[in-house]
Symmetry: C2
Subunit: 549 residues, 2 copies
């Protein structure tokens, strides 16, 4: 597995040998009509042409690390280091495809368990090495960039050998998983006990339990199973000041909930090594179906009603008109023109696709929960498209990253960004982000597609997830996106959170102070100094340099 | 209102002039048979006989504080200071009733709003005064004891003038309340908008929004409305380094959730001045009913099934056999003997009372939710006692503290303690706490009653709430309880959290390191140094002296 990852993370998501997600000629023509024809395709430069610096890891440090984890688990070969050279944001991929400027770790260290991770961390303190915890490598915010801060060398601490389930308590419904367990592996391990975690983010195929915890991940079924932080019952971290375990009860008033400090700590307050997770019986029945509502505002109101009646389907996902159009045009699941005519006949002028999915322990429970959801939609103008479209969404729900690879090859600028806000601000927020991105990108080319969906709804508000498709600026592809991202982030900071489930990393750092205040930053910096006095842990991410804090 | 509180908090809960909760002669006889006859009654010593030290507040500090909040809002009279001399634990009350050794603040300062609180905090930094934030004063863990730490004087920062609702967003269902709003006032303010908070802890009549947030409170309807921390959407604190606002969205991945650091901070990381709360439509229908299950283990299993099927009633409260007996004997609502015979006839050998309460927006919703709960009880041996007992529980649900006053007068040692643990550990935990308390108290007198209930259930575990009734040791009433509490706490620390909803204060501090680790303590201490560099905020509570951290 780790070999596979080594070779494939550089250029994109799709594992070598795995099926690509090609666009049909028709879909491609439609897309080019909308955003303009990209001027050049951009296949990835072969790795052999990249100028990767020699490893700066000192021989003694290498020897000590090899002593801790075994010689074969300290990798300094170029392929291994390139495979952990940052995450999977558009900017990461552009840099690595074009052979641009990006940081490469000096070594990849693969410990076997929590104790070995602690030993590696201790050695990194001793040798003053920066440590970037590395799980699935799917960060889209620079969270796993191999920054060395003020250290002479940086290691990627690859956690994928921590791939076991350590215990299951079926009575309390808690499973303890090691941090490097990937989501599909977690589901397979739990399935052996008739259990599920129910965490299905788009990064599902690659991302790990530790990464979910470190970044406050939210899966597509978060309405049913909760955000990842709500699943975390306990957590264990390897820190420069020692092993740290948290979580002894389902709820507590023993001071602040420090689990919620560990969750979201992005490798800057410790390396998460084990997570105790609330699990549920694996569903025995499911049903996914598609509806079309009329217009974004009515659709958002309908989702709000479901959330506030606590009648959300486990998966509740509302696309705006633009995203609905793109889904119909690109998916090929339905004949887009015929569908539009059909919907107009039903009085739907601005079709907004709503995917509803329920997972249940019995058909009776499924029926009752579905009925509750549909009662919540009473009085909403809605046309049912049925199960075929719903199940098609379910089948392809992890295909997005592969499709992005295809679009990258075609010379398209494709990236996502996301936020959450209170219901009363959601409409303005969406409008503001769309205009900001269109203005930033559209100056001297065709307007980009800026499409949006709600995929996580709460009683007090919801997330907004934007996908941007634009004709790439071949002269300055990074600058093109960075300007759009900055403009969007300014708009977001006005109305909501800078990130609902992508985390801070490097990319959102400039907006964190606005969100948690200078006092919040100083509290994070103080916590970091307490657990990481020499600042070896994931420098440059989440927390500004602690010694300046 | 504040005058009332001044005069009444010293000796007990019951406001002067309010109805006491007398025990019937029969009930009293039963109780004395069970735990032995107390050797002396202990009416409170008149306040005039207490030896209250002069205020140590320097004249300049007093003048500056008066400049900030108005002369009439800086109180140094004995009655005002006595009224904020600690909380309402058994030990607090014994000390104040007997005229024992307890700390009295040097002044009571009553700011009008968040800005005035900030000014008071700034002045306390300037004059190096300890600050004890004081809301309802209902802490049962020493959380509002007037400890001065290394400062020359300590003020009680009384927040009850911060009693407004600052805004309501009915679309997002968020209300911003000032910290000093008492729970009944909050409900009244929200009722004007057709809304409710749904937070009904036993301290309801006195306790405040700020106090709930500071201590991670959990109300009796937590199964339906959630723990208080789950209601907190945003929070504002006055800290020695400035005003700090948190919370911009319903959920976020922008690093650790610092709201969950503020919630539970017990006045040690800032004075909570405003809280943005998730609210819900006020229920238009409710139904409370009582059931009797057979035996603690079967009862706990039934509650676990409800929690894990997510079919809990909003109020779900299971008493063990001892608590059930006490409730039947003391309440007078049912004829205890006749009931026992009736239950035996139904095959119930060890009656465990189960209170179920639903609150809903419509009778249809109520019916559906009740049906779901009752489906979850399928196959459990259960006898329905009906709505009368359920409604009687609801009517008297805040009477516990008043009843305790009566028992205190009678010379009875009466106190509660609580914890939470995972389901698989709950049985052992209950047994261990019971034996620990019985052993500690029962050496040279009749065995105490140690009764228990589950009132907060989660998918992975539940709370256990113990009430202890014993014949008081007149020679050493404090020592008697402190030994029992220490023994119980040791047992608790083995299996679960040292506190599920009473907070840490001074009383649980010895066990906090065991729960969050020395690293957890150092993180809290570091956070405190960041926001309270000179250590003025609530010294001696929650966080060991930060300068030693």
């Amino acid at each position: 597995m780790s070999e596979l990852i080594d070779h494939t993370l550089r250029a994109g998501w799709t594992p070598s040998g795995a099926a690509a997600a090609p666009l049909s000629t028709r879909a491609l023509r439609w897309l080019r009509d909308r955003i303009g024809t990209p001027e050049e395709t951009t296949p990835a430069v072969p790795a052999s042409l990249l100028d990767v610096p020699e490893s700066a890891l000192a021989e003694q440090a290498r020897a000590d690390l090899a002593g801790a984890v075994g010689d074969q688990h300290v990798l300094t070969a170029v392929a291994a280091r390139l495979g952990r050279a940052g995450g999977l944001s558009y900017s990461d991929l552009i840099r690595r495809r074009d052979g641009g400027d990006f940081a490469v770790p000096d070594a990849v260290v693969l410990p076997a368990d929590a104790d070995e991770v602690q030993r590696v961390v201790d050695l990194c303190v001793q040798h003053d090495l920066a440590v970037v915890p590395f799980g699935g490598g799917t960060s889209v915010v620079g969270g796993v960039s191999a920054l060395r801060g003020d250290k002479s060398a940086v290691i990627a601490l690859d956690l994928t050998r921590l791939n076991r389930m350590l215990s299951v308590d079926p009575v309390s419904r808690i499973a303890v998983l090691e941090a490097g367990v990937r989501a599909p592996e977690a589901e397979a391990l739990l399935a052996g006990h008739g259990l599920t975690l129910g965490h299905f983010p788009q990064s599902y195929e690659r991302a790990t339990i530790g990464g979910f915890a470190a970044t406050r991940s939210a899966g597509q079924a978060s309405s049913g199973y909760g955000r990842f932080e709500s699943m975390v019952d306990g957590v264990r971290l390897a820190t420069p000041v020692g092993d740290w375990k948290l979580g002894v009860a389902p709820a507590s008033a023993a001071g602040p909930d420090l689990r919620q400090l560990a969750v979201g700590s992005e490798g800057a307050l410790g390396v998460i090594t084990e997570v105790a997770l609330r699990v549920r019986p694996a569903p025995t029945a499911h049903r996914y179906e598609a509806w079309v509502l009329d217009g974004w505002q009515a659709g958002a109101e309908a989702v709000r009603a479901l959330a506030q009646h606590r009648a959300l389907a486990d998966v509740t996902r509302l696309s705006d008109v633009d995203e609905t159009e793109v889904q119909f045009e690109l998916s090929g699941a339905l004949k887009a023109r015929a569908l539009q005519t059909f919907l107009r006949g039903k009085g739907i002028i601005e079709p907004c696709l709503l995917i509803l999915g329920w997972e249940a322990q019995s058909s009776g429970e499924l029926k009752r929960r579905r009925a509750a959801t549909l009662r919540g939609l009473d009085g909403v103008r809605a046309v049912r498209l049925g199960r075929k479209v719903g199940e098609s969404w379910r089948t392809h729900r992890f295909a997005g990253p592969r499709q992005r690879d295809t679009l990258l090859d075609l010379g398209i600028c494709v990236e996502t960004l996301e936020t959450a806000a209170h219901w009363s601000k959601l409409g303005d927020l969406r409008t503001a982000v769309r205009s900001a991105v269109v203005r930033a990108i559209g100056a001297d080319r065709k307007a980009p597609i800026v499409m949006c969906h709600i995929s996580h709804a709460y009683e007090t508000g919801a997330s907004l997830y934007f996908t941007v498709l634009a004709s790439r600026d071949p002269e300055d592809p990074l600058g093109q996106w960075q300007r759009a991202k900055a403009a969007a982030s300014e708009a977001i900071a006005e109305h909501g959170t800078i990130t609902h489930h992508h985390a801070v990393g490097t990319d959102h750092l400039p907006w964190l102070t606005g969100e948690i205040g200078a006092i919040g930053i100083s509290v994070l910096a103080a916590a970091k100094r307490a657990v990481d006095p020499t600042g070896i842990l994931n420098p440059g991410k989440l927390i500004p340099d602690a010694r300046q804090g």
